[in-house]
Amino acid sequence: MSAQRGAPEAARRSSKSPEGYEVVIGLEVHCQLRTESKLFSPAPVRYGLEPNHSVHPICLGLPGVLPVLNGRAVELAIRAGLATHCTVHEHSIFARKNYFYPDLPKGYQISQYEEPVATGGWIDVVVGEGEDAATRRIGLTRIHMEEDAGKSIHDASIAGQGTLVDLDRAGVPLLEIVSEPDLRSPTEASAYLRTLRGILRYIEVSDADMEKGHFRCDANVSLRRVGAAELGTRTELKNLNSFRFVEEALEAEIERQASLLDAGEAVHQATMAYDPARRRTRVLRLKENADDYRYFPDPDLVPLQLSSAQVERVRGELPELADTKRERFESDYELSAYDARLLTESRGLADFFEAVVAAYGPAKPVANWILRDVLQALSAQELEIEGSALTPAAFAALIRLVDEGRTTAKGARSLVPDLVARGGDPEVLVRERGIEAVSDSGALEAAVDEVLAAQSADVERYRAGEKKVLNFLMGQVMKRTGGKAEPGTVREILARKLDG
């Protein structure tokens, strides 16, 4: 296989199946449920503390402790199941997954195995952009609840010769969401993850913050000859903790498998890790001695029973989901499908948009302003709209200042990063920055007259039919007004004086 890979863009461009093969990807997502306390322990869910500062005897796996299920976590699991069109089961079972690791205090993880809380759902994923956008329906095999493990710190500079174990995260409630092997490219995988994450945030099941490890992904990937019915041997990529790594890692692994198959070699079932520095996957361990987790129903817990009334109550409380919202944006606000999709990708952004429209009026200009300037500023500052200081009222006021000719679009645009970062009153900011528009027509007329007098040769060329000279003259006027003039007005005055 080729050892050198190009820049990330090259990887993304190559997001096509290798010649002659079909790519088959299934994803397992672990997302942290938004609860105050842990799944089976009343210890608080807290991060960033010193080790073992958020623990209860249950989290420590002390002799004699017993699990008691967090009812809120169950509600959130039901919600996730309903939002992804799963069947939510009235009977489900918690099982023990047995293995030894220092951050697994009981020597087993309480999970769901044979009878999970939800199965058989789907989500619609839009893949591609603009004209190329297509919707793919991706099946969900199952959703189940389980407890997180603690944290092992291997860093020799902190841990010396040993490994440190912190159990603050042990027992934190997770949902595991397993997709069908319906994904056919790294791009689809990434689009699926973004959509799924959006749904989980929409319904407030999870903060799904990848940076904080609230949303983690393992990928199963295999290749098969085009037209083959049998799936190829798959490998599992572990701990893909950003959207970019998911795509890159899948690209690298697909290429590795394709090279093996091309050379007539076999792909071995294995757990793989992705090395972002070298842009390669490597075998963590072969699965020849398949893990034997000895799952069995946890005898400390009896089966979970949900009533249909409870499930229906949760259904009734579900907020409007992205798909529905997108359709509503298209029809109510007359937005393009593309704009509506971008605006509804996060619930926070959609809510922000609607709040600005409510304060301002026409939807289309609001959409344009948000999709261009706000998204750019958020992305540059690595913020979500919820985390920014920009309020809907301030943003509506800013657009209005432009409409009223009190500042230029360019001037307004220059304020967006500051408003996102620090907030503030746009009217005050415009004044402080001295970017009020020169709307006094007398002053503008004077500036135009001065330019025409100074550039008489160019005026001649214009009048001789060289119309593009107008742009040059406009630039001169803008320069003279320090960029504060509204370009449309300048063009109007120039044309009147030149043609008149």
């Binding site: 002799p63 004699g64 017993l66 008691v68 020597g107 000895r294 946890d298 005898p299 400390d300 009896v302």
Partner: protein, 488 residues
């Protein structure tokens, strides 16, 4: 001053009359322990200062007229698998060496609320795995009736301290007979309530779906008082029974007329049953008939499958429950610098005794890939049939009567080489755990000068009926009033 302590009722009367203080009772219990326990080896640890302080507080309450319960100021003992904040818990295992619990079990909290004074932690088979209290890091507990004999197990220490009169009451746990069989061997009453009656919070797990805390005393009436104090729903235990606990001690009127006792046909044919045991049990049944009970034969068609079913389920659960003893967070660690897996292997191999390792291996095997269905799932299905046997039987009788053990206390060391034979001696007791039923063992005579036990089993939540039957029998007999020979 080192003679045996009286019954709970007698001690309470002395306390109420002001003839004795709780502090004095605790000193008597400690003195009795000092006098006899070097021969019995029934305690793994005495709680001297803590017990004295608790007793002093009980005396102060009594002086203020604030007696909390019939157990206020009464010394008791707990099996060393029930945690108590600030105290060690060892489960008679090297692997819990040095462990001091930062929290208390519900049992201990309820005893504290009742004012009972815990004077010590009793010996047991390691992690409650055994029927003789020989599998203990501290060595075996000797039977007070014959020091060369086993005290039974796994709660042998709790049975022995009651038989020897160190305390009037003690607590144990019963996973497959671990209260009833040592009660039988030591000639005291031992009761395992319905599964879920006493919270398991803070009881170190052996087999979670079978474990149940219960009590020992010399009379059924005292057992009723002890169990009333510690039973009840606990939101910290998801398998805790929600039903209200009746005042069992108030239902003991000696009347068993109108009750039908079932004799399981299949148990008459059990291999290796001591004929003398059968005789004593037959005499006890006759006594209950004279008291007004009706007797009939019933059938438990799957009785022969109980021991096999029990050992598959119990060991499977145990293999998982004991995974937490890994040398990471507490307990004994053995480390040679050869890495994590080596630390696990050494800590666990050197920390657990032979019987525990044997059961972990068996349980790991029955849960492992390819064997789950043939063993574990099959056992769960047979467990259903066993439960149904009891449901059917209880349609035609109110309680079942059986021997507790097919034999009297065996000689120490005589069974340790043959684990399967040891397991088979649990034939009469394991079914109650598999079906979650209450069961009681009470002394019903002697064979070879050793106590014989009568077991009475009832439908779920019918502890009161069993206590009433046992109490009625004890009103008509005096086996429970006999003390082990003064040699102890």
């Amino acid at each position: 001053m080192t003679g045996p302590l009286g019954s709970i009722g007698e001690l309470r009367a002395e306390l109420d009359a002001g003839d004795v203080s709780s502090v004095e009772l605790v000193e008597r219990a400690l003195a009795r322990a000092a006098a006899v326990d070097d021969r019995l080896n029934a305690f793994l640890g005495l709680r001297v200062e803590g017990a004295r302080a608790d007793a002093a507080r009980s005396d102060e309450r009594r002086a203020r007229g604030e007696v909390r319960s019939p157990l206020d100021g009464i010394p008791v003992a707990i099996k060393d698998n029930m945690v108590m904040q600030g105290e060690p818990t060892t489960c008679a295992s090297r692997i819990l060496e040095g462990f001091v619990s930062p929290y208390s079990s519900t049992l201990v909290e309820k005893l504290e609320a009742a004012g009972a004074v815990v004077i010590g932690r009793t010996n047991m088979d390691e992690f409650a795995m055994g029927s003789s209290t020989e599998h203990s890091i501290a060595g075996p507990t000797h039977n007070p009736w014959d020091l060369s004999r086993a005290s039974g197990g796994s709660s042998g220490g709790s049975a022995a301290v009651v038989a020897a009169g160190i305390v009037p009451g003690a607590f144990g746990s019963d996973t497959g007979g671990s209260i009833r069989q040592p009660a039988c061997f030591c000639g005291v009453v031992g009761m395992k309530p319905t599964y879920g009656r006493v919270s398991r919070w803070g009881l170190v797990a052996f087999a979670s779906s079978l474990d149940q805390i219960g009590a020992f005393a010399r009379s059924a009436a005292e057992v009723a008082v002890l169990l009333e104090a510690v039973s009840g729903h606990d939101p910290r235990d998801s398998t805790s029974a929600p039903e209200v606990v009746p005042a069992w001690s108030r239902g003991l009127d000696g009347d068993v007329s109108g009750l039908t006792l079932g004799l399981p046909r299949e148990y008459a044919a059990v291999d290796g049953i001591d004929p003398a045991v059968s005789d004593r049990v037959g005499e006890a049944v006759a006594e209950l008939e004279r008291a007004g009970a009706t007797v009939r034969e019933v059938s438990l068609p799957h009785a022969h499958t109980a021991v096999a079913t029990y050992y598959l389920i119990a060991t499977a659960e145990a293999s998982s429950n004991l995974a937490r003893y890994d040398g990471v967070r507490y307990g004994r660690r053995v480390e040679t610098g050869a890495g994590l897996t080596d630390m696990y292997l050494r800590s666990r191999s050197e920390g657990f005794g032979g019987e525990v390792k044997r059961r972990i291996l068996l349980g790991t095997y029955v849960l492992s890939a390819g064997y789950y269905d043939a063993y574990y799932r099959k056992a769960q299905q047979v467990r259903t049939l066993l439960r149904q046997d009891f449901e059917t039987a209880f349609q035609s009788c109110d309680a079942l009567v059986t021997p507790t053990s097919p034999e009297v206390a065996f000689a120490l060391g005589s069974r340790t080489e043959d684990p399967l034979r040891m397991y088979l001696s649990d034939v009469f007791t394991v079914s109650a755990n598999l079906a979650g039923l209450p069961g009681i063992s009470l002394p019903c005579g002697f064979a070879e000068d050793l106590p014989v036990g009568l077991q009475v089993l009832g439908p779920p939540l019918e502890e009161g009926r069993l206590l009433r039957i046992a109490d009625a029998y004890q009103r008509r007999t005096d086996f429970h009033t006999l003390r082990p020979p003064e040699s102890t």
